[in-house]
Amino acid sequence: MTAYIFRRLLQTVGLLFFLSVILFGLVNAAPGGPITAYAGRRPRPEKIAQLKRQFGLDQPLPTQYLYWLIGNDWTTIDSNGDGIKDSAGLRKGVLRGDFGFSYRTRKPVLEEIQSRLPNTVYLMSVTMLVALLIAIPLGVYSAVKQYSSFDFFATTFSFAGQAIPEFWLGLIFIIVFYAWLKNPWTGEPLLPSGGISSLGSEFSLSDRLAHLILPVVTGMLGWIAWYSRFIRSSLLEILPLNYLRSARARGLTERTVVLKHALSNALIPIVTLIALDLPYIFTGAVLTETVFAWPGMGRLYYQAAIDRDYPLLLAVLIIGAAFIILCNLIADILYAYLDPRVRYE
């Protein structure tokens, strides 16, 4: 197992290197970038050339990639763009945890990410947790009562939940709970239309919760649909097995059989599924965050795409990909750990 994990980690490094080359090439192949952001609408050619030298964009692409990866503090760069290499570079490179500066805010990319990440982790973990708390009982009950009207209702709901565009659902919720329904005592909108908390007010738990409800409900419907369907089919595969029949024969109640003996095995694939979905806690949900003006990673990325803030886009993509690959590995290891029949060489 250790050898297996080690080999997978090595593959991860290779895969990330490959992805970073492609993404870097893609991002830098595009016109625009910092030049249009800084040079104004009708820049003079000299101004453009100077900016290019300042940002190191006059260098060949492989050199630019090298500077991005390992930094340029070991060589001299043209810091004021006058065509003379005058001072040592300041960048440390991605390998030493420096993802460069945001073109838009001129702050380090990692600082930008750190300021947004907690908000996304907060929203996404609450969303996924609530979704699981609803989806597990829903899936179990629907499997036990297969083809009952409850099962029919739950299956239909799950089909619907996967088909609703979340950004549209978010808008509908805002129409209903912000524009139409009013708080009977104060006459204000029942729920806020967006943001993580009321502007300029002191921290209060109820205010935080009020802001959390709509984004969580919007985001969780898709997850509930996805997980409950999976739990239902996973349990349906297990319920006819002989070990459960013998458990019943020994006089265990149906409740014990399902909740203790069947569910513990049915949840194995669910656990790995959750591990595979964990990267969303980092990348967030762009659409939900946009609808509810939630200051998280998704909106940071969206804004960066509008501004063509390439260092920021690249950092989010690379870190996101690293998360996905690692979570894949964790899922595989968990699977082998939870299910003794699975063995990796």
Binding site: S193, P240, A305, A321
Partner: protein
């Protein structure tokens, strides 16, 4: 033994029609497609504004109301449906064109070819796909390309298709891995059939079921991706309507004029639900074990 194509399709069709949801889905999606095709019968122009009639609520004259430029919303939704459904269709065609050959080659030849192709598939699978979709759309907005014009239907479809072929590659590879060991394949090889002939003529037709099911589900997925992209204003641009950009346009005053946001979303929802039910029905139809499950002992 392989059944005759006609008998086989009849059997599939019979199983498919037993799925109630799939039939309802078929009816709804056919209606939507017909309405979109005959959108030109509408007395209103989808792109020409008439400011005298702006932001009217639904009424007998304008069944779903009008937008901020006085254009009939129903007409725009139907023309938008043409765009959204076309994007979905082309995107799935593109991902089929990439995914099926990759999966077929990997599964049929195995060895080095397999491991290289599957590594590439893994690389694509480890990307946060919606974020890359936004990046590609943002980049392609800036570049002049000969066929793939900015924000055109073809460009958006290409971007969506290029990021969703991986499931096809995996499914086709798995099918080829098992089917290539079958006796009938060895027999046709012994008779001197070329690799190409064996792959296209003998193996692919027997693995086509999973591909069709997946293509149906991907169609819904592609439509929802286009809608999301256009909602972020990275997709199809105004004045050309698409279901996503209609909702994007509605955003600025949707609490006062809610119909602008509600109706395009219902169109998306109905389409996706129908497509998913059809996919579910097809899966049951192509899966012989599914039929047995319903008479299983455990109830």
């Amino acid at each position: 033994m392989i059944p005759q194509p006609s008998e086989f399709s009849i059997a599939i069709w019979k199983r498919f029609t037993r799925h109630r949801g799939a039939i309802i889905g078929m009816v709804i999606i056919s209606l939507i497609i017909l309405l979109c095709i005959f959108a030109f019968l509408s007395p209103f122009n989808p792109e020409k504004s008439s400011l005298a009639e702006k932001l009217l609520p639904p009424s007998p004259a304008h069944l779903l109301g009008t937008d901020a430029l006085g254009r009939d919303l129903l007409t725009r939704i139907l023309y938008g449906g043409r765009i959204s459904l076309t994007v979905g269709g082309i995107a799935v065609a593109i991902s089929l064109l990439i995914g099926v050959p990759i999966g077929a080659l990997a599964g049929y030849y195995g060895g080095k070819i397999d491991s290289i192709l599957m590594r590439i598939t893994d690389a694509f699978l480890s990307l946060p796909s919606f974020l890359v979709l936004i990046l590609l759309a943002a980049i392609l907005r800036e570049v002049e390309l000969p066929i793939f014009q900015r924000n055109s239907v073809l460009t958006i479809s290409l971007v969506i298709g290029a990021l969703s072929w991986m499931t096809f590659a995996r499914l086709v590879r798995a099918a080829f891995l098992t089917l290539r060991e079958m006796d009938y394949v060895s027999a046709s090889r012994a008779l001197g059939a070329s690799d190409r002939r064996i792959m296209l003529g003998h193996i692919l037709p027997n693995g086509i079921g999973v591909v069709i099911v997946e293509a149906t589900l991907q169609l819904g997925y592609a439509i929802i991706q286009e809608a999301g992209l256009s909602f972020l204003n990275f997709g199809i641009q105004q004045p050309t309507p698409s279901w996503g950009n209609l909702i994007y346009a509605a955003q600025s005053h949707f609490t006062k004029y809610p119909w602008l946001a509600i109706f395009p979303g219902i169109a998306i929802f109905l389409t996706i639900v129908s497509v998913n039910y059809i996919g579910d029905g097809l899966r049951d139809a192509f899966d012989p074990y599914k039929v047995m499950e319903k008479v299983g002992e455990w109830t």
